[in-house]
Each structure stands twice: as C-alpha cells, then as structure tokens.
C-alpha cells in the first residue's frame, strides 16, 4: 500500500503522480494479451504461407512471352500447387516453373509436350519458317511461350525436367475484364 508522502516541491509532486500512474497500469495483463495476439498472428502467417506455397497461391506474371493469353503486367493468377506434385499436368497447361538458367527465377510458360511426345517448333520465329522436331526425353517436358517472337523457352534451353514445375495456373482473378479460366490450348 502506498503511503502518501508530502511532496516537497511542485516537480516532486508531478513525479510522484507519474510514478503512481505507472504503477496503476495493468502491465501483466497487457503483456499477456500482446503475446497471445502476437502468437495468433504468427500462426496465421504460417498457415497462409503453407497454403500459398503448397496448396493454392497467387502469381503476378510479367513479360511479353505469354501474350495474348497473359497480359504484360497487372494480371493476378490463381496458382494450383497440388497438381504438379500429383502429376496432373499435361500439354496445353500454363505452368510456373523454376528457370533452368537461374533457379531463383520463376517463369510462366505453356507445356507443349510431355515425356515421349514429339514436339515441332519454329527455330527462328519471325525470321524464317524453319522448324525442328524433337522427342521429349524421359522425365522432361517441353515448354514454350505463346508469344514465340518474344519468349525464352525450351527452344533456347531445351526440354526441362518435370521436377522444376512448381504450379499450374488455370484461373485469372484480375483484371476484372478478363476474370476466368486460362484456356488450355493444345
């Protein structure tokens, strides 16, 4: 119990009022609430991260290589992370994959062929009509951008191992004028 002491001066009086106010604040309760809210937030962030990494995430692809299916910028796509692991990816799907030229880069391309498929592709689009045909090796896929005039894809870096595929993009949620599923072209 605080025994009030006669203050000896105005500043000492202000000081003791301040100390009394501090002592009156329920510190323990505040700390308890802060830590439980903090814990809840951390759990929420973990859950969001796990879901977006391994179940359903969102992607913001940029660049001209998938025109006209995807805009150069501003698109928001739902990315299914379950399908690649289960092998539910086939020709015509638009996928996210780690670039074989730089594992820290993620690229969006369309799958043109799975292992065993024969793929015929233009070797020098825009400059010549020459094409080449390859058979996709075991465990690999052939990916190509829809915009063959401006795409760095399997025509340059060859067929890629299926293990690099990290997500399948099948639905666009932005911009509103183009909301809907991404066509799966053969």
């Amino acid at each position: 119990k605080i025994i009030p002491i006669e203050p000896s001066s105005p500043s000492a009086a202000a000081m003791s009022r301040f100390v009394r106010r501090l002592a009156g604040i329920p510190w323990r309760q505040i700390a308890g609430e802060a830590s439980s809210v903090g814990l809840l937030m951390a759990q929420g962030l973990c859950a969001v991260h796990v879901v977006s990494e391994h179940v359903l995430g969102v992607a913001f692809p940029r660049g001209p290589s998938m025109l006209p299916a995807l805009n150069m910028a501003g698109d928001v796509l739902l990315t299914d992370k379950v399908s690649p692991r289960r092998g539910w990816v086939g020709p015509g799907d638009v996928v996210l994959l780690l670039s074989p030229e730089d594992p820290r880069k993620i690229v969006a391309k369309r799958v043109l062929g799975m292992e065993g498929d024969e793929v015929t592709y233009p070797v020098d689009a825009g400059n010549s009509d020459a094409t080449k045909t390859v058979v996709v090796p075991q465990g690999h896929i052939w990916v190509q951008g829809d915009n063959i005039y401006s795409s760095n894809d399997s025509r340059q870096f060859g067929p890629v191992p299926y293990g690099l595929v990290k997500g399948k993009m099948s639905y666009r949620i932005w911009p509103p004028s183009r909301i809907g599923s991404i066509d799966s072209k053969e």
Partner: protein, 185 residues
C-alpha cells in the same frame, strides 16, 4: 547397397504426339534410356561417405527401419549457394517422384572432363554437375548431363541412422584434374 539412383519405373506408355498438325508424325519411343540395372556395391577402401538412399528430414521417434535404409539430415538453401564437394539431394531429372543423392562436383561455368566420353564440357548457367562417390555403380551427370540447380532440394549434413554410419557428412575435394572452376570461391 548401390549408390545409383533408385530405378525408374518401367518404360512409359506411349502418348499421342502433342502437335495438332493434320498429319501428325508417328509417335516414337523416348530417346533417353532408363538407368542400367544396379550392380552390386563394389567394396571401397575409403570410409563410407554418406547415405546413398532416399533421406528423411526428420527422424520419427521410435521408428526402426528394418529394411536397411539410412536417414540423414538435409538442410535446404533457398539461395542455391551450394559449394563443390557437398553432398546434395535433388529431384531425379528422369523421374520427378524420386530423389537422388550425389556429390556436387561442378558449379555453373565450370569445365568438367568427362572421362568415359573423353570430352570437356562447360556446365551451363543455372546447372550443376553431380557424381556418386562409388563411380562404377553410379548413374549420374556422366550419363544424364548437368542438372538444373532448381532440382536441388538441400545439402546433406549428417547421417542419423544407422548408428554405424552416424556422423557428419563432409565436403570432399573433387577428383584431381576433373574440374576447372570458372570462378574461385
């Protein structure tokens, strides 16, 4: 146990060609051959370097593997900053459902001499060269070429089971004269 990758499933069933051309070319068999059947593990005089089977990241308490499998701790590296001589785990380039453990011999830009083919190759950007320690029984980059770093899931740091193999998995200097690094790390 052989240090080669677990054998792939039997040859894939034929699938129709993906091109929509009116006269589509006839389907042909995939060119990449399946790995050779595993040969018996050749005894070596060096101490065992580490596990050659599929690792587990977390050892489940109370589980005693009765099938001779080994378990190891694998540390991921989101920046892909692996060094030459580390043992790494990566998704098999021939079958995305299985994982392989090999030693990382070369980094992007390095020049590798491939003895069987008597050639010298440069490892392309974003790729690495992997070889098994037990060279005669290992199916690795000498057969399927450089592996994209995006397939590498982590480095093996310790073996935790069986007790006879417990311990740290150390980096090893790549074989003499096989690797010419492009950059000195």
């Amino acid at each position: 146990a052989p240090s080669s990758a677990s054998p792939s499933p039997t040859a894939t069933s034929p699938s129709p060609p993906s091109t929509a051309a009116p006269c589509a070319p006839p389907w042909t068999a995939p060119q990449q051959v399946s790995p050779p059947p595993p040969r018996p593990h050749a005894p070596t005089t060096q101490p065992t370097t580490g596990p050659d089977r599929i690792p587990r990241r977390f050892l489940t308490a109370g589980v005693t593997p009765a099938d001779g499998r080994e378990y190891a701790v694998v540390k991921r590296s989101p920046l892909y900053d692996y060094s030459r001589g580390e043992v790494v785990v990566f998704v098999s380039p021939a079958d995305h459902r299985s994982r392989t453990i090999k030693r990382l011999i070369g980094l992007p830009g390095d020049w590798i001499s491939v003895p069987d083919k008597e050639e010298i190759r440069q490892i392309p950007e974003g790729h690495c060269w992997v070889e098994g320690d037990n060279g005669s029984a290992s199916w690795d980059s000498r057969s399927y070429g450089p592996v994209p770093l995006g397939l590498v899931q982590g480095r093996v740091t310790h073996v935790v089971w069986p007790p006879s193999k417990m311990g740290r998995v150390d980096k090893r200097v790549p074989p003499e004269g096989r690797v010419m690094p492009q950059r000195n790390l």
